[in-house]
Amino acid sequence: MANIADSIYNMRLLDDLARQETVIHKLHPLVKLLTTVSYLTVVVSFGRYEVAGLLPLFFYPVMVLALAELPVKPILLRILLVSPFIIGIGILNPVFDQQTFVLAGREFSRGWVTFLSILLKSGLTVTAALLLIATTGMDRLAGALRILKVPRVFVLQLLLTYRYISVLMEEVARTLRAYSLRAPKQKGVHRSAWGSLAGQLLLRTFDRAQRIYEAMCLRGFSGEYHSGEINKICRWDWAYLGGWVVFFILARTYNLPLLIGSLLTGVIR
């Protein structure tokens, strides 16, 4: 149940953040989507033993976080909460790959490197996805999808799902609250109420969908869905996209930290 509240807050928080007006927020949603996808592709394309090469890619989330004036804490918290699955799978790497190597005079299992690599990638990809939504918002993202010719049916459906999550979550929360008040010692819903509890919620959902459809029809809905016009992509948008893509390619092509490092250590020597 705490889970429900948290989920609602999380969505509302991202929704709130997306309403700010910063340089990043003002960018065209499609440009942000494309940048994010290129970023993710580059991050994910790194080999499993790669750690150092990933580090320059930290620039992207850090810059966006700063420019978009987003709070760091909730986003970091999200990353920590996410993906027990990843850690669960990744933590087995050191078990299965026990080849060792020497770093700074000490022995390490190579599995730890792959694990670290997975963790880094996880952090970067999760952050990138959250940054996209936190600087764009669901409605503008939907606009971008429409520009990409994603069918109207799907986009409208997606928006409705998004819109009604909080309504239905609160409804479920109230029902569970009522349930727990009369079943003080139970953790979950007892088998005898499985069907009727969830079933009634479902029927109410059906009826609600019906009313929503009627409300839409009464305002002229005929299967077509019109969202507001989104501004054209301007030169600055292209520059943003281009700039990042060039940086990503550079970071992918050259192991920048290694270059910097060897330059520096070379100089010192």
Binding site: N10, Y49, A66, F108, A129, L203
Partner: protein
Amino acid sequence: MHMADALISPVVGGAMWAATAGVAAYSIKKVQTEMDEKKIPLMGVMGAFIFASQMINFTIPATGSSGHIGGGLILAILLGPYAGFLTIASVLAIQALFFADGGLLAYGCNVFNMGFFSCFIAYPLIYKVLMKKEYSTKRIFLASVLTAVIGLQLGAFGVVLETLFSGKTELPFGTFVLLMQPIHLAIGVVEGLVTAAIATYIWNARPEIMEKASSGETIGNISIKKVVAGLVAAAVVTGAGLSWFASSNPDGLEWAMIKTAGTAELEATGGLHQQLSDLQSKTAFLPDYSFQANEDQPEQSTGEGEEAWPAVDGGTSTSGLVGGSLTLILAALVGGGISLMKRRKYRINS
């Protein structure tokens, strides 16, 4: 069982995206031609319902633990496979964006694992067939549990294959399968039982809702032939995707490792990679450029054009450490600097 971005390679992600987009496009076409537009809000709100209902913990008798529903099956039952698939897709999209469950690149994998298998394979081939004769509580239970279990087993196997082909973990195939399938057997049974309980309730309370979905326009005319054709198509797409992946697996390092220092563990997965490696050298999608970068390093000890373990060489690892730390510090400084400037601007403005 959300696949995460961090665990897949771009090629696996891309291939599954393509497969998913294909199925989705077909479903949208079906939805638009075969259903009234009334279903659109219903799909949207049902998607939200799945979200909300995932918060309900159902206590599993005699175990003391509890589980929740994934929703794929109940959506297929109530909305039909096409609308059900699209609804699952939008649920997963929101999970990926807002809750970072799964990711944008892994989205195709996730929709495929959790939507395709339950809506287009388990549902028509098992549920529909079992329920064809008559509706009864017993049948609903039997059909739901079987369908849910098989759908989830397929999905879990999908996760295993996708992870394996992406080559980001060291998990041997066998171990991973032994890990994933039994867990999802249990999850499938719970999903099936809960779904059956809900379906039975709806069947008693508002039979017209289910009748429409099961006998009506939407599913009635999926023939087995079509499903098989769809399966074959999916297999081809997946196969093509996988061989594409194979041809471009950027992770050649392991291959090199086997050659230089083969270990027992590595051989387990090595066999697969060995076969794929020939193709790999021909075409390279995002080739692992770190090799080239290393080539440029004079200190590098191996000269085969493939990277040796960086730590073998003290110099490289020191450079890596120094450079890496510097990069991170620089990133932090830039971020901090921008924030500071912004804050100062505010203060001046206000």
